[in-house]
Amino acid sequence: MSRLRIFALSGLGLLLLVGLSFGLPLWTGRARYPQIERDIANRAIEDARRDEANHWAPERYASAVNAFKAGVDEGIRQRGRLIPFQNYAVAEDRFYAAAQNASEAMREGKSARLGMASRAAEMIHLAQDVIHEAENSVRMVPVGFIPRMRLQKSRMSLSEATLYTRNGRYDDAFDKAKDAQSDALWVLTATGAAASRYLDSDLVRQWRNWVDQTVAESRAGQSSAIVVIKEKNRVDLYQAGRIRKSYNADMGRNRLSSKLYAGDRATPEGRYYITQKKGRGDSKYYKALVLNYPNAADRKRLAHAKTNGQASRGLGLGSLIEIHGEGGRGQDWTYGCVALSNNDLDDLFTRVSVGTPVTIVGGDGQSGKFSDLARRLSAPPQ
């Protein structure tokens, strides 16, 4: 073999080797940039973002974005190499992972969004129930500025929660509804605490004693007696120890407390008697049976409250507590008097006289709106 031939064959072999080293990677696809995979991953990430997966499934979405970036960086690194040394397998894997993570983020995001929408709806529903209950309690139990303010605040938080739900901001809606529920629960606790005196066993025992004594005296003297049960909005007329008639009655606006001082709008609790009967024209409210309020016990209670700092020194007891007409409104509205409808007062007027005992109690130890409320609010949640 001539030298020239050997040289030519060697050249051809080298050319073949070079051709193979460049052509083989291209032919097998190892050196092909994974543009299709990249486009698919890019589109999947964009779809996930439009579906707010970045908000609802942030970790999975970040994994997709990071995998995509890693794929891009790997692509850049491979492109910087000579073709025989290029290998886009890793970049392709990264784009594939990015696409998978993006579609998973979209799925997780949808699920998280639906879950939060459902939780927000549930919390809104719960808050509505608690607010409704708090409104009912506040209607029954007079509360101060702060509980009233928190109840109003809870209503507005609920309103904001509903607005956020409409805008798809379910997590904000959930938070606002939770605020609403928490404020309303606070109000319920406050009203429950205020109503809890109706469950005070010592007080209930005292009320029962008063009623029992009044009934016993009516029986013994074969006389009339009146028992007013505040939480039942009821006036019972006893004759010879037996209930002859019951009337619906409206009480003082400050329904929970016993009267302590003038202007507190509470109906007093204690044992009284009728001192005067006012006919038509003599009373501002149709007719009236005037009671001997304040009695000694009332004076003692206010003096005690002043000593304890529960009432300021300048406060007086007030007077003119009556059973009068213009009542039957179905709400407690008076300054402390007991108001009957004019028809009922006409009826009662004829059955009692000056000196008839009038016993006013908060409750009779049985069921009543305040004791029921206090019981309900003190019960552990279901």
Partner: protein, 200 residues
């Protein structure tokens, strides 16, 4: 010999010249980055989400191209495409900024309208409360409603604060809630009027 040496030197100089011509368009890239930052500062992420995402994608493409060129041997670098991508990224970022400003202005207008509306309702409710029928039975209700109004005014004040902090969506939600509560009080006053008429 001298001719060959001269030719070699000329070739080297030409190569150096070509290499120095392929200079990265740093100014354009920095300008695009500044535009993207301006879009972020204009809260495009909140008020123009899609436009912002597009700008970020364009910026990522530019970044990729820059890295690709920098990874090449100096003689093979070409920044023509980089310049195009830098222009596109800057345009997208500017567009995102404009969209954000428009979106924010829209949100501000909506919040302003909601706050003004709620304040008007609050004012008319307070006027109604001043002239509400006060009797022995309704006085406490009126006082309670006045307390509720005070809370509504607090919510409106929170709406104002949110507005001042440029949290327009929150400001609108608070104002809408205040308005809805004021409406509730107005209907209660109407009911009280009806009741008062019924008693007389």
């Amino acid at each position: 010999m001298r001719t060959r040496l001269f030719a070699a030197l000329s070739l080297i100089m030409m190569l150096v010249l070509v290499a120095s011509c392929a200079k990265a368009p740093q100014d354009q890239v920095q300008s695009a980055q500044a535009s993207l930052k301006a879009a972020q500062d204009a809260e495009a992420g909140t008020y123009a989400k899609d436009a912002m995402a597009n700008a970020e994608q364009q910026m990522a493409a530019l970044d990729e191209e820059m890295k690709a060129q920098q990874g090449k041997f100096a003689l093979f670098r070409s920044y023509g495409k980089t310049k195009e991508l830098a222009s596109a990224a800057q345009a997208a970022a500017d567009s995102a900024k404009n969209a954000a400003q428009e979106g924010k202005a829209r949100a501000r207008d909506e919040a302003t309208a909601a706050i003004n509306d709620a304040k008007a309702y609050a004012d008319s409710t307070r006027t109604m409360l001043e002239h509400a029928p006060i009797g022995k039975g309704s006085m406490t209700d009126i006082q309670a409603m006045k307390q509720d109004m005070a809370t509504i005014m607090m919510n409106l004040s929170e709406a104002d604060s949110a507005f001042a902090a440029e949290q327009y969506n929150e400001a609108k939600a608070k104002a809408d809630a205040a308005k809805s509560s004021a409406q509730g009080i107005q209907s209660s006053i109407m009911q009280a009027r009806e009741m008062a008429r019924g008693h007389h």
